[in-house]
Amino acid sequence: MSSDSSILSLLIWLPILGGLLTLAVGDRRGPFGRITALLFSIITLLISLSLFAEFDRTTHLMQFVELVPWIEPFNINYHLGVDGISMPFIVLTSFMTVIVVIAGWEVIQDRNAQYMAAFLIMTGLMNGVFAALDAILFYIFWEAMLIPMFIIIGVWGGPNRVYATIKFFLYTFLGSVFMLISLLWLYSESNTFSILAYHDLKIGMSAQMLIFFAFLLAFAVKVPMWPVHTWLPDAHVEAPTGGSVVLAAIMLKMGAYGFLRFTLPIVPDASSELDTFMITLSLIAVVYIGFVALVQQDMKKLIAYSSISHMGFVTLGFFIPFLIFKQSGSMEGAAIGIEGALAQMISHGFISGAMFLSVGVLYDRLHSRQIGDYGGVANTMPAFAAFMLFFSMANAGLPGTSGFVGEFMVILGAFRANFWIAFLAATTLIIGAAYTLWMYKRVVYGKVANDGVAGLSDMNHREFLMMTILAVAVLGMGLYPAPIIDVMHASVDHLLQQITISKL
């Protein structure tokens, strides 16, 4: 394997370069800082779309591979590549960055250029996480990404931002150092940091168990799974709108991606052994956190809990195949679980992003996130109400929107494994609809609640633009998900093969 294309490097370093340029332009030259940021984010999106177009759907092998020795004394390589599992997320990341830049355009008054720069730099690092095939390179992107996010929440966040951002950083840092230990142990066993080589490494059961839990700590915090989810509502509530969007749309996906890239293929036997444990945790997230979302008074908190609940679906989908395999002895039909989970991840990226932006639109006007402070918004902001209704429906999993695709596939997979698992998972269709639509009803419908709401003005062109883009994405994926599922198919099948082969 040699480097035949440097498109992935471009996707990592171009936004970072753009971020540095934006920083250099600064705020003193009026809007030029953010124009630079917008320009770079759009170019990055276009490049990522060409990645999507050129991607070969028929193979599970890594594509666009780049392999350059980087730190030879440590055997660390600059090794990039994508398959059907990681490629969609690079596109999603690049896409959301454009939205975030537009969303922050006039809203962020204080140090606007630095805000934009932080997001662009973070985009490059997040693309790096999804593209890295060297364990240490992955870890570096994974950790470095925390720094801009730490600053974004801490500088531009809400009143309790310092607590939230330090909690966010330490939680994630704690999880990931244990992953680092596992990676170093794997290195001492195999003398390489190549993630793909780890996929074929034989590991004993007790070591697999320990590695599983170390990885679990890193990824479960990031997903976040119950019971290590408590940082997320805090971080979401305090983060500026753009921070919430990136956090929900992309950062949460990294934990889930970690399961697919590390946990399942590296320690399949431990994963198979602990499948009921993981499914239980996932179901608790889906059902219990759904109920927690129901009682929230703060819109952002509600959406944050709804994210945790939806991410429960994702982890559920990852571990369903093990159960199916144990029962039927084959992976026939198991792919739907993982593919459904992946579809859910992408769809959740769009929908949660859109939901946070909707809250952001309201927050920019009235500076409150409390449901109780609103009521009757539909009277003064009809266009906004229509968009928010659409996204709320999508969040509740309405057929025809992208939210339905993933949930439906995962539930279908769950039925093959066990009726009761499927039953519990399906309750989310009710609970999800309950908390989302109830919130929508209280905020948007009814009489105009107070003078604040009465004085609201409807969305401006900028807001209209970003909402439309997201609505198109949600609807498009809901009506015709095939192109995205197709991309994943070969890689998911390969993954399923990998996890059926015991490594003992």
Partner: protein, 484 residues
């Protein structure tokens, strides 16, 4: 004792520095107060010239000189260059600070140079006697440097404490050495190693050796500032003028690493099984106590002192894995830590001004608004100390952890990372003050910056920390070839 003139070329760096230090001392007698800058420039020149001399003599096999009492080897050369360069940086940092406090005097430079000379002798030691001489030259210079601000009660107290405890530690080390001498009958390090190798079965002799080893390790631990021999560190760091603290907190750690290498690895390698558990306890305690107590500090100098203690714990992890790669990782750690630590204190020097020491954490509140550039530099340094990529501190920790795991001590690695997460908290708190907090009402406005040498040095320092974090391979290769 035979004397060969050719041997002098191998110790040319030490001789050069000695000559130049004497020259600085003499010149300083004749320069006037207002042109003292000449002394400063001469000092910087001396350090750079000496570094060049070391570099010129590098390469080739290691040589034993002067009846095998001195050694010149690749490891020594690399360590010497690192010390000389980082000391240059320290002197660049301290200029303005010293001037503002009336400390910009010849003694400061001369003592600093003699301290460096001591370190170089220590590094070049191949006999317990040479080693002790180097160590004392270094220590005595540093005691005097701490006491430089003699009309300041806090500094005098720190100097007294440092001197008394330091002398005690030297005594312990010396006592341990005397035990080793009694058991082996030689002061020559490789002969000691050889002797121990041949006497593995002799239980009586072993008892004496282990007895001596305990004292040697205690002495080393004191010089490193490892728990439970760390009591002097916070007080001295805080009490000494910050410029001197910058010196004490950086390069002597490299020298102390050399001390460990010469004594434990070169000399007492046969007793690994005995000193490994001792270092393990020192390392664990240092990481635990250093990180935990640092959280409670409100004074930046004290916080950095405790942070330094925890870093020493990490450094010891590399040594106690007792493999060649482990020593390399410890060496990498020592050098990069000295670099980062100098930067951390350099920040205090930059922010301080006449009559105002920017050493309270609260002095840094809202720095990002006033000086975004220096705030960014501080951010890099702090994240490096916390071990977050992409800074060099991450690789230092990575290298050490990798060695600890490769010798099968996974639990130790887990303890180490757990404490480093605790450690991350107090670094984050400083970053929080710099970036998130508004400036306090009535707080001392910090120095106005124009383009000054301190600021440039700091920027360079932080950028090097970042660059080494992105491309650590070269330095790692240097450490490998130095030890391998």
């Amino acid at each position: 004792m035979k004397f060969d003139v050719a041997e002098l070329t191998a110790v040319a760096p030490e001789l050069t520095l000695l000559t130049l230090a004497c020259l600085v001392l003499l010149v300083d007698l004749f320069v006037k107060e207002e042109s003292r800058i000449i002394t400063g420039l001469l000092t910087l020149g001396s350090l750079l010239i000496t570094a060049a001399v070391v570099a010129a003599g590098m390469g080739g096999e290691s040589q034993l000189l002067f009846s095998e009492s001195v050694i010149r080897d690749p490891m020594g050369d690399v360590l010497k260059i690192a010390i000389l360069l980082i000391t240059t940086m320290v002197f660049l940092y301290s200029g303005d600070y010293q001037k503002d406090r009336g400390l910009y005097r010849g003694e400061y430079f001369v003592l600093g140079l003699f301290g460096v000379l001591g370190m170089m002798i220590l590094i070049a030691a191949h006999s317990f006697l040479t080693l002790y001489l180097g160590l004392e030259l270094m220590s005595l210079s540093m005691y005097a440097m701490v006491a430089l601000q003699r009309d300041e009660a806090r500094a005098s107290e720190a100097a007294m404490k440092y001197f008394v405890l330091g002398a005690l530690a030297s005594g312990m080390l010396l006592y341990g050495i005397s035990m080793l001498y009694g058991a082996t009958g030689t002061l020559n390090i490789s002969e000691v190693a050889h002797f121990i190798q041949g006497q593995k079965e002799n239980a009586d002799l072993n008892l004496v050796l282990v007895f001596g080893l305990v004292f040697v390790v205690s002495g080393i631990a004191f010089k490193l500032g490892a728990v439970p021999f760390h009591m002097w560190v916070p007080d001295v760091y805080q009490g000494a003028p910050t410029s001197v603290t910058t010196y004490i907190a950086s390069v002597p750690k490299i020298a102390a690493f050399a001390l460990v290498m010469r004594l434990l690895v070169d000399g007492l390698n046969g007793m690994v099984a005995d000193w490994q558990p001792m270092l393990m306890i020192l390392a664990l305690l240092s990481m635990a106590l250093g990180n935990l107590i640092a959280i409670a500090q409100t004074n930046l100098k004290r916080m950095l002192a405790y942070s330094g203690i925890s870093h020493i714990g990490f450094l010891l992890l590399g040594v106690l894995s007792a493999t060649e790669a482990g020593y390399e990782s410890a060496m990498f750690y020592a050098i990069t830590y000295a670099l980062t630590s100098a930067g951390g204190f350099g920040m205090i020097l930059l922010m301080s001004r006449k009559g105002f020491e920017a050493e309270e954490l609260s002095d840094y509140k809202g720095l990002a608004k006033r000086h975004p550039w220096y705030a960014l530099m501080m951010l890099i340094l702090l994240f490096s100390m916390a071990g977050v990529p992409p800074t060099v501190g991450f690789y230092a920790k990575l290298a050490v952890l990798q060695q600890v795991i490769s010798v099968g001590m996974v639990w130790l690695a887990i303890a180490a990372v757990a404490f480093s997460v605790i450690g991350a908290f107090y670094y984050l708190r400083v970053i929080k003050m710099i970036y998130f907090d508004p400036e306090e009402e009535g707080s001392q406005p910090l120095q106005q910056f124009d383009l000054n040498p301190v600021g440039i040095t700091l920027s360079l320092n932080a950028i090097v920390v970042l660059l080494l974090g992105i491309f650590p391979a070269q330095l790692m290769l240097i450490c490998q070839s130095a030890i391998g």
